[in-house]
């Protein structure tokens, strides 16, 4: 294996070429994860643009293929090449390292694409298929969406409110597709490492449905072992049987998350000391509450006093003071709260990405930092066909 110095290599992915044929957030996010590490990701689009360009929200409220914030979010650092029909695809694949496809089996067939044959034609190519249900099986051509995927895959069953007359509620942000992208990224990396050893590419078949079926945390072990199903609860872990609320409303109508674990003596003492320092521990300072059993038997009293304590303070203060006291309390931030967070600012987390006519826009930085890799500059998503002339096709 040829050895190069990291100082001459801006990123280990700088030489990698990725061709992306993706029309949902799963494949697009997978492409972005590779692009933001320095790979050249070329997004292939039809003349009218990828369907994700037709999704809001819109920059400045102006609808148009180059104004979709949905498209911006998942396609930064990529190039856009327009192809009318897929005849021009094969020449692009000849020197590509990874081909991302989100087409389900019937759509592949309709497009005249045979992924197995592509692997045979280009033995070094890694074909990264990211689909709703995978390329095989009785549901392989079933339609899906973020909501439908979260439902059938399992996470939705754990999310919602205490009141089960209300249906399970989808957690926000496209997490079905994001889960698919996480596994697509891992699959691509494993295949790249395999190729470093063997020189050979392969077909990597990622199923969003299965990704979600193993992204349910405790629900699986509770079924594997005691054979019980967990029941959803308002903003806290779904459990085999109900547990106390963990969401506390504060004086400014914002919330903090805190799990009151009555059996943990140390955190109990920290909590009471903190509440007492504000003169609000009420009867919880009485000696009988030092006993776990007594606390558990008088749980409703405890819960009420703690609820009152939070209700008369602002959420930010409760978050900071609670953490300083050593308690795992989290404030429920809204997205707009994050940009001014001193911790994120000190870490330089948000990155300004230039958009002509708008100015710098704050994007989230990468979730990982490497001492060995230079930072790859972040660039905006491409305009439709922006790089059509640059890429040989």
């Amino acid at each position: 294996m040829e050895t190069q110095s990291a100082s001459t290599l801006p990123s280990p992915f700088a030489g990698l070429k990725v061709i992306e044929l993706a029309d949902d957030a799963g494949g697009e996010y997978a492409g972005r994860l590779l692009a933001e590490m320095g790979a050249e990701v070329i997004k292939i689009e039809p003349p009218q643009g990828a369907p994700t360009r037709a999704l809001g929200p819109w920059a400045g409220g102006v609808i148009g293929p180059d104004n979709s914030l949905n498209f911006w979010f998942y396609n930064s650092n990529k190039k856009s090449v327009v192809l009318d029909g897929l005849e021009g695809l094969a020449p692009l694949l000849a020197d590509a390292d990874i081909f991302i496809s989100t087409l389900q089996p019937k759509a592949l067939k309709a497009a005249g694409l045979d992924l197995d044959r592509l692997c045979r034609t280009y033995p070094k190519l890694i074909v990264l298929s990211v689909t709703a249900f995978g390329l095989t099986g009785p549901w392989a051509d079933y339609k899906s969406s973020d909501l439908v995927a979260l439902a059938a895959g399992g996470p939705l069953n754990s999310c919602g409110y205490d009141d089960h007359a209300i249906p399970p509620i989808r957690p926000g942000g496209n997490q079905g597709y994001h889960t698919a992208a996480s596994f697509a990224h891992i699959g691509a990396m494993l295949a790249l490492i395999e190729r470093q050893k063997t020189g050979l590419g392969q077909l990597v078949d990622v199923s969003m449905h299965e990704g979600l079926a193993v992204n349910v945390e405790l629900a699986n072990p509770y079924w594997f072992y005691p054979k019980v199903n967990v029941q959803r609860q308002t903003c806290r872990h779904a459990q085999p049987s109900p547990t106390q609320p963990a969401l506390f409303r504060c004086a400014d109508d914002r919330y903090v998350y805190y799990t009151l674990i009555l059996s943990e003596q140390r955190s109990w003492e920290m909590l009471v000391k903190w509440m007492d320092s504000k003169g609000l521990a009420a009867q919880l300072v009485e000696p009988e509450f030092a006993d776990i059993k007594y606390r558990q038997d008088n749980f409703y009293q405890v819960q009420e006093v703690v609820e009152c304590f939070f209700l008369v303070h602002e959420a930010e203060q409760m978050y900071r003071e609670g953490q300083e006291a050593g308690l795992p309390i989290g404030i429920l931030n809204a997205p707009e709260d994050l940009f001014a967070d001193p911790h994120l600012q000190a870490r330089g987390f948000f990155i300004d990405v230039d958009h002509e006519g708008i100015g710098p826009v704050k994007y989230p930085g990468a979730a990982y930092r490497f001492s060995s890799m230079a930072e790859v500059p972040r660039t905006r998503a491409p305009r439709l066909g922006e790089h059509s002339g640059e890429v040989d096709g």
Binding site: G56, A213, P226
Partner: protein, 429 residues
């Protein structure tokens, strides 16, 4: 394939063979990340403390033994916990008492023979043991040092305590989830424990890939909160670009979408107690298919449902009709009828359902079984990726506490018999 009864470590297969990992990770988030390395051939050696058992070893998720949550096992058998088994298959397990000088010396030797070190303690713990990146490089020059924590290893809140739900709260993931005008429904699981683990696993693979090219190691800093912010999705840019407030009465939108104008788009009741089906209709063709499956009811001809835009604006009325129609139907039968007609629909499935009633998952062999000396045969979550070349070898269930001490310390590190006995006698291992 070795006989199932054998638990003796063997040469591994997969793309990560030859990578030895000194794995200080614990809890779910750490163990879930290194599980991926172990699955694909890395020799992952879990380093545990007999005096401070990993929480998944203590949590009483036991086979055939239903307990109420919080009903703790005062004296848990560390080898009986299902959660630990779930997260630690394919790994080796050793015990080292890091509060002893000899324990730390032994850990140094293990690190010197490894090329990856992983940890997810509170920031400062590894430093207390002298295990900085500089020290690790002295021990193992090409080392990759992967560190994961809630808030990252720099910044004023680096020491804040966190676990999945706190990460979900602080990153904004909880706030963006729920019905409009109500308290957030947030998350019913530590989604961010899993996702932070996946980000960390990907980062480890990227560093290994780079090292294979350059010969140089890396220190990796993964912050779960920063991973969570990345997962907020396009709403974050709506806020950044348009100054949109997410604290109004119109956000979040529950099971409905803001974009595109999908309708119906929701979760509807079906036959049985707390049984539901998700249905998502994005265009006129899908609407006509849905209505045809419903038997072309009269209400569907209402001008309020004439086109996608109208249906989107009249979702309250539309959802009431759809719910009245789905109620009383079998969720799977309805799902298959709708899918056959070209409508995206999925039964809301529990873990029981995905494990036992899902032919798609069964057909692709996602879940698998391994035997365990104390637990017996148990089920495991596989990897939702099918490779045409790369092999996932499931060679063993999770290690018993200290199960591989002799193999690792004697065979791999060359600790002599007398020294080994002394380490045992002194409580170092």
């Amino acid at each position: 394939m070795q006989p199932a009864s054998s638990r003796t470590p063997v040469a591994r297969r997969g793309p990560l063979t030859g990578v030895r990992v000194a794995d200080f990770c614990w809890m779910g988030v750490g163990a879930c990340a290194t599980r991926l390395l172990a699955d694909f051939g890395a020799e992952v050696i879990r380093i545990e403390d007999r005096n401070r058992l990993d929480m998944p070893r203590r949590l009483p998720i036991y086979k055939n033994e239903v307990r109420t949550y919080g009903e703790e096992d005062a004296n848990p058998d560390p080898n009986k916990g299902g959660l630990f088994n779930n997260y630690n298959r394919n790994k080796l397990g050793v015990t080292i008492n890091m509060r002893t000088a000899r324990g730390r010396e032994l850990a140094d030797r293990l690190i010197a023979s490894s090329s990856v070190v992983t940890e997810n303690f509170a920031p400062g713990v590894m430093e207390r043991w002298g295990l900085t990146y500089d020290r690790l490089k002295q021990l193992s020059p090409q080392v990759i040092y992967a560190r994961m924590s809630g808030f990252g290893h720099s910044g004023p809140n680096a020491d804040y305590r966190s676990y999945g739900p706190v990460v979900q709260a602080v990153s904004g993931m909880s706030h963006i989830s729920g019905l409009p005008g109500q308290e957030p429904s947030g998350w019913g699981l530590s989604y961010m424990d899993n996702e932070a683990a996946f980000f960390n696993a990907a980062a480890l693979l990227m560093a290994i890939y780079q090292r294979n090219v350059t010969g140089e190691g890396s220190e990796i800093d993964v912050s779960a909160v920063e991973a969570g912010i990345n997962l907020l999705g396009p709403i974050l840019l709506d806020v950044a670009v348009n100054g949109r407030s997410t604290r109004g009465p119109d956000f979040p939108t529950g099971n409905r979408l803001e974009y595109p104008d999908a309708a119906p788009h929701g979760v509807y009741p079906t036959l049985g107690e707390d049984r539901w089906i998700a249905i998502a209709v994005f265009n006129d063709a899908e609407w006509r298919a849905l209505i045809s499956v419903a038997g072309d009811p009269e209400w569907a001809a209402d001008p309020g449902f004439a086109d996608q835009q109208a249906r989107f604006e009249n979702q309250d009325a539309l959802d009431a009709h759809i719910a009245a129609w789905t109620r009383g139907q079998d969720r799977y039968a309805l799902m298959h009828r709708l899918q056959a007609a070209g409508v995206a629909a999925g039964a809301v499935q529990s873990a029981e359902d995905t494990n036992d009633h899902d032919p798609q998952i069964a057909g692709r062999g996602l879940f698998f079984e391994l035997d365990h000396p104390v637990i017996g045969e148990a089920r495991f979550e596989g990897t939702p990726i099918q490779f045409s070349r790369t092999v996932q070898e499931n060679w063993r269930s999770a290690p018993l506490l200290g199960e591989d001490n002799a193999h690792v310390f004697k065979s791999l590190l060359g600790v002599g018999a007398a020294e080994y006995e002394a380490l045992v006698a002194e409580g170092v291992i």
